[in-house]
Subunit: 412 residues, 2 copies
């Protein structure tokens, strides 16, 4: 069960004009479950994405990057995305690249376009060969059920250890233009995106030029998926794709307008919702933790400290136990790698409770106050460094027995 | 129960001439257990140490560093060490420094020396005031039972979540001189030493000049305690102290001799044993894992990759499950931060089994071979980078349910 995160229902998810979605059961890892997703795009669509920085980036990531680069070099636009779960097609060498390209070629034949107009994605177990015949064999079934209101099925089709599908949808007014945006995401373990996340797809019906979309996807990722961590394990397959179908009335060709500023806020906001759903459904998560580091000399040092707290197994198990053993947070701050940190200027808050003041225990701090906050399912850790005006926020979850159970059993 | 690590017994531990050890029950956290240790040194002894780099380094660490600096500046030599468990005296600000200094002053009065001739150490819960009256009140009892063959009691007196005392002892021949060396260590969680470890003490009866001892302690720590990690949490209190009592026949005044080279090997070897005991007794540990990264362009990148593997919760839970889900190791290599890593030159071995070859799955690899190795309680992960001639080794353990249980319950 995810932390304070109600299941989205199909009726909540608005179709985005210019996108049709199909799914199929290929039996990649287990029978009788959706494991193939196809998203077919209108001719007017532009697509931009950010991908994992893991050096063992998966074959489909390499192919998707190459195919987007082909568009940037003047090639024909992207016509479809295809996603499989059950196998990451990572750590698979040349064979893996062949499999990803074969998947693109098969879908291109069905959609009457070129292979490089397809973006492939995979998620699942690493270091095992992709059963490419099963993937290719299931594509006609996915094409056969293409329709606009399949977003809920899409969210289900990309799940792995997720306990619930993740999706968000809204219609916003941007300077008088109604813009619909719907997105899905997945991921519950191996989550510490560093450029993007393990599969997020967000579509909007505005018309957005490629250059602007490239800027927009990076901004949105940096303020959403790139601020979450479950276990510090940056996946081999992380990808966040932003699709502007170009079917609505809003058209944006440069970043110098009120329209763009408002769109950026709205896109970042929905991307953040999708990212936070991943944390709420983190493997074994019982708490949703916001870590905010303020008054830093630069953003990098704020992020270092926030991630150091968010990754500490001792901090995470203390949250699981609702135990205000808060010295563990100071310890994690201390080893974050900010070498000139003067701890005597540092304050630590747990929600509204001032726990440590000027680097030592706040004389007025009562354990009962810490205990009261620790009982909650949503908690904010706030660190004030007293060094400057920069800040950073990271969202994470606790470390529970269930995390160990899930990851000791995942392949079985 | 620790991994393949038999309990030392008192008879195994040789006294080191020039050191007397006393202990007491101060009731700092719990009644009826040894929690105070005093080590009294001969006038001929030299002492050197390395300490945590955590910016929230504990008050006793600050005082010990200052008191060693006073010796280096020509002050009177160190006469005694005092250790308490049950409270780390970290995150305690000015009050904590006062408590550490008060402890030194009280022991100095009993031993008729100056307070700066005492080195204080603490281990236990962070962010709670040290009950200094209990510590000081227990010192006379510790002094009263000072004797040379108390090493086993000393190992017990410094335990926190350790399930067993850690100690090693041997007599070695160095160029015709018999040298006795006995050491103790503690630590089972919050273990990722970065300069030293959470309390290690090693005594030898050679006569070693201060400059040489400073070099020796750093070398030994860098090749032992600084190569272990349990949970990545670099403690606020890590300290590794090397004491040369000067009572034996071996005397070393500079580093340019066969005697020194042999002593360095012997001291590093016993330090490594003490460090590895900490991993074998890691919180909840069921496996002892050696991670070796070879053929790196420099040692730093080898260490980055080794620690990335050793800290990955996904890798650690796979070891706990004896599940050869070895793609998780490739993933951890990929996000280690070696930006120009060419994975197509990389091989991965699990003991003698070649799992990944040239960055992809070894075609000859059979899951049964991986499974066979994963069943073992001692496993070596070997990564060959194909980039150069440098290497690094890190020792770690798995992540089990018991780790979560221990750290969700530690303070209760």
């Amino acid at each position: 069960m995810a932390v304070n995160s109600p299941l989205p229902v199909a009726a909540d998810l608005k179709p985005v004009n210019g996108i049709e979605i199909g799914f199929a059961e290929a039996g990649i890892k287990k029978p009788n479950r959706k494991d193939i997703l196809v998203m077919k795009l209108a001719d007017t669509a532009t697509v931009a994405g950010v991908f994992t920085t893991n050096r063992f980036c998966a074959a489909p990531v390499q192919v998707s990057k190459a195919n987007l680069a082909a568009v940037a070099a003047g090639g024909a636009p992207i016509r479809a995305l295809v996603v499989n779960t059950g196998n990451a097609n990572a750590g698979t060498g040349e064979t893996g690249l062949d499999s990803a390209n074969a998947t693109c070629a098969a879908l291109a034949r069905l959609l009457d376009c070129e292979p490089h107009q397809i973006l492939p994605f995979s998620t699942g177990v690493i270091l095992e060969p992709l059963p490419v015949a099963k993937v290719v064999g299931a594509l006609p079934a996915a094409i056969a059920n293409l329709k606009a209101d399949n977003w809920f099925n899409a969210a289900e089709a990309i799940m792995t250890t997720d306990t619930q599908p993740k999706a968000a949808s809204r219609t916003v007014d941007i300077c008088g233009h109604s813009v619909t945006m719907t997105g899905i995401s997945k991921g519950a373990g191996m989550i510490r995106p560093n450029m993007a996340t393990m599969l997020g797809y967000l579509a909007i019906d505005a018309k957005v030029s490629q250059d602007v979309l490239n800027e927009l996807v990076k901004h949105a990722a940096d303020h959403s998926f790139n601020c979450i961590t479950i276990d510090g394990d940056t996946s081999t397959n992380d990808s966040f794709m932003l699709i502007a179908t170009g079917t609505g009335s809003l058209a944006i060709a440069n970043t110098d307008s009120t329209e763009y500023a408002e769109l950026k806020t709205a896109v970042t906001d929905i991307a953040r919702s999708l990212a936070q759903m991943i944390i709420r459904d983190g493997e074994g998560a019982t708490k949703f933790i916001t870590v905010t580091v303020e008054e830093g000399g630069n953003m990098e040092e704020c992020r270092k400290i926030a991630y150091s707290i968010a990754h500490s197994p001792l901090v995470k198990t203390a949250f699981f136990a609702s135990d205000p053993n808060l010295g563990r947070i100071l310890c994690a701050i201390g080893y974050a790698g900010v070498d000139d940190l003067d701890v005597t200027k540092l304050d630590l808050y747990l929600d509204d409770v001032l726990v440590a003041k000027s680097g030592g225990r706040n004389p007025a701090y009562q354990e009962a106050d810490g205990q009261r906050v620790m009982q909650k399912s949503e908690i904010t850790v706030r660190v004030r460094l007293g060094r400057g005006a920069h800040s950073a926020t990271v969202w994470t979850c606790d470390l529970s027995h269930e995390y160990v159970t899930i990851n000791a059993d995942y392949r079985s």
